[in-house]
């Protein structure tokens, strides 16, 4: 997959007034991997995702997005390679699911946006009957499926997911796990903030635990982590 082949995060810090959200975070994210970004509430996970998405400016340090050995500029073309699933849906309640995706397809310059939107809604399992209804009438799980479709719209090479399993039923969570595995196989960088360790076990090959704005653990296992392995890392580093 062309686009972002690796990301180098160096000594990233972020303050919100007197509150220090991140304090000197170093990370190296590689293409074709799924990174589970773990940590207790307030550890700085969402802030780090915001910085990786280019929407939040760090107060210290740098993030370099590399294509091979070449650093890419933070511009519209880079943003086209980033898919974000955030806490909020990032969709308009008054518009239908299909209208939301078609609108964002226009902003992303996706060719044949309506067809791509339909295909993605099939893929995330949003029923055809729901697609023509305003998003404000959707259940939490349906909104989450739509949000995932929105994040995947432009075939991003960097996929940032903040609690993506929230509200999904068992089938939806399994399908999302499979989709993350597919993105990894296609060469994307996937960063997933979650507390649902069971759902991401198997596809995760990189574990990062944040604690009080610092990296408490940064490990890789090309064979992937089991649920027990992820749980062990979490309890050892996040609860320390």
């Amino acid at each position: 997959m062309a686009g972002i082949s690796s990301i180098v995060v160096e000594r990233i810090g972020k303050r919100f007034g007197d509150h220090r959200a991140l304090a000197g975070v170093d990370l190296h994210l590689r293409a074709g991997s799924v990174c589970a970004l773990l940590g207790p509430n307030g550890a700085g996970k969402t802030t780090l995702l915001g910085i990786l998405s280019t929407l939040t400016r760090p107060t210290a340090g740098t993030v370099r997005y590399l294509d091979g050995d070449t650093a890419r500029a933070v511009d519209d073309r880079l943003r086209a390679d980033i898919g974000l699933l955030a806490h909020a849906s990032l969709c308009y309640g008054e518009l239908t699911g299909l209208e939301n995706l078609t609108f964002f397809a226009t902003l992303y310059g996706v060719a044949d946006g309506a067809a791509r939107a339909d295909a993605l809604l099939d893929e995330v399992g949003l029923e055809p009957a729901a697609r023509g209804r305003p998003v404000r009438t959707y259940s939490r799980g349906m909104v989450q499926r739509l949000a995932l479709a929105r994040a995947l719209l432009a075939r991003p090479s960097l996929l940032l997911l903040d609690e993506p399993f929230t509200g999904l039923d068992r089938g939806g969570a399994l399908a999302l796990g499979r989709r993350l595995g597919q993105a990894k196989a296609e060469g994307a960088i996937v960063v997933c903030v979650t507390h649902d360790l069971e759902a991401i076990a198997g596809v995760t090959d990189h574990v990062v635990v944040l604690r009080r704005g610092k990296v408490a653990c940064d490990q890789r296992d090309p064979a992937g982590y089991s649920y027990a392995g992820l749980r062990d890392h979490y309890h050892r580093h996040a609860d320390a």
Partner: protein
């Protein structure tokens, strides 16, 4: 022999497409709910009606009050609409989605500003006829000129308002802060609009054109400032 469209032309067409996609989305959302336009229209109508009963001399509404009443109605109702238009972007955190998209931030700004301007024009279309009716004013041939003044004022309000409303989107006390930061910047626009309207009512075309040009210059200046500052103001 047909001339092939150059890259600059293609970029302009793509930019316009993005601007109209953002503006069209905002208007579609408003058409579905109609909450902003109804609230703004009703608020503007109440201001005009109340002041038409307050400013009375010799049992007739005071024509001299029309410029102030009309512009107060437009600005106050416009502020309500502006705040609500950006509250919608906060509900699903959709402003982040707009800023994350590879569309130029200037296209996002222009699309939002156009949608706000159209809402302000709708309020003006309510406030002005009501003013003429309740204050018993016959503008005659000056109607066209007054429409131009209102359009220029609406554009200025939308441009400045869009920048500040977007900037305050993640601020806790944004409903309180928006008028506090917005009105001082709008004072020259409100003053010029009021003066131009007063000049038109008194038949002083020369003064009216001076203030109309002032409004035009205000719009150009703030479009340039907004273009330069929008991106820096909306990033966290």
């Amino acid at each position: 022999m047909p001339v092939a469209a150059g890259p600059a032309y293609n970029r302009s067409v793509q930019f316009a497409r993005l601007v109209f996609a953002v503006a069209g989305k905002d208007l579609r959302v408003e058409l579905r709910s109609r909450e902003i336009v109804y609230t703004m229209g009703l608020f503007a109508a109440v201001i005009v009606v109340v002041f038409s009963f307050a400013f009375v001399r010799n049992q007739a509404a005071l024509i001299e009050a029309v410029p102030g009443v009309a512009w107060a109605a437009v600005v106050f109702a416009g502020t309500i609409g502006l705040g609500r238009a950006f509250d919608r972007e906060r509900e699903g955190d959709t402003m982040r989605a707009l800023l994350l998209a590879p569309a130029p931030r200037l296209a996002v700004f222009a699309g939002k500003a156009i949608a706000v301007a159209l809402l302000v024009f709708a309020v003006e279309a309510v406030a002005l006829p009501l003013c003429l009716l309740f204050f018993n004013v016959d503008l005659g041939a000056a109607v066209g000129h007054l429409a131009l003044v209102l359009v220029l004022g609406g554009i200025g309000f939308a441009v400045v308002g869009t920048v500040f409303a977007a900037m305050l989107l993640r601020t806790q006390a944004r409903d309180v802060l928006l008028p506090v930061v917005l009105y001082p910047i709008l004072v020259p626009m409100i003053m010029a609009g009021t003066k131009a309207t007063a000049a038109l009512l008194s038949g002083n075309t020369g003064d009216a054109w001076f203030w109309t040009k002032f409004l035009g210059a205000y719009d150009v200046a703030f479009i340039l400032v907004a273009t330069w500052s929008f991106e820096a103001l909306v990033i966290e």
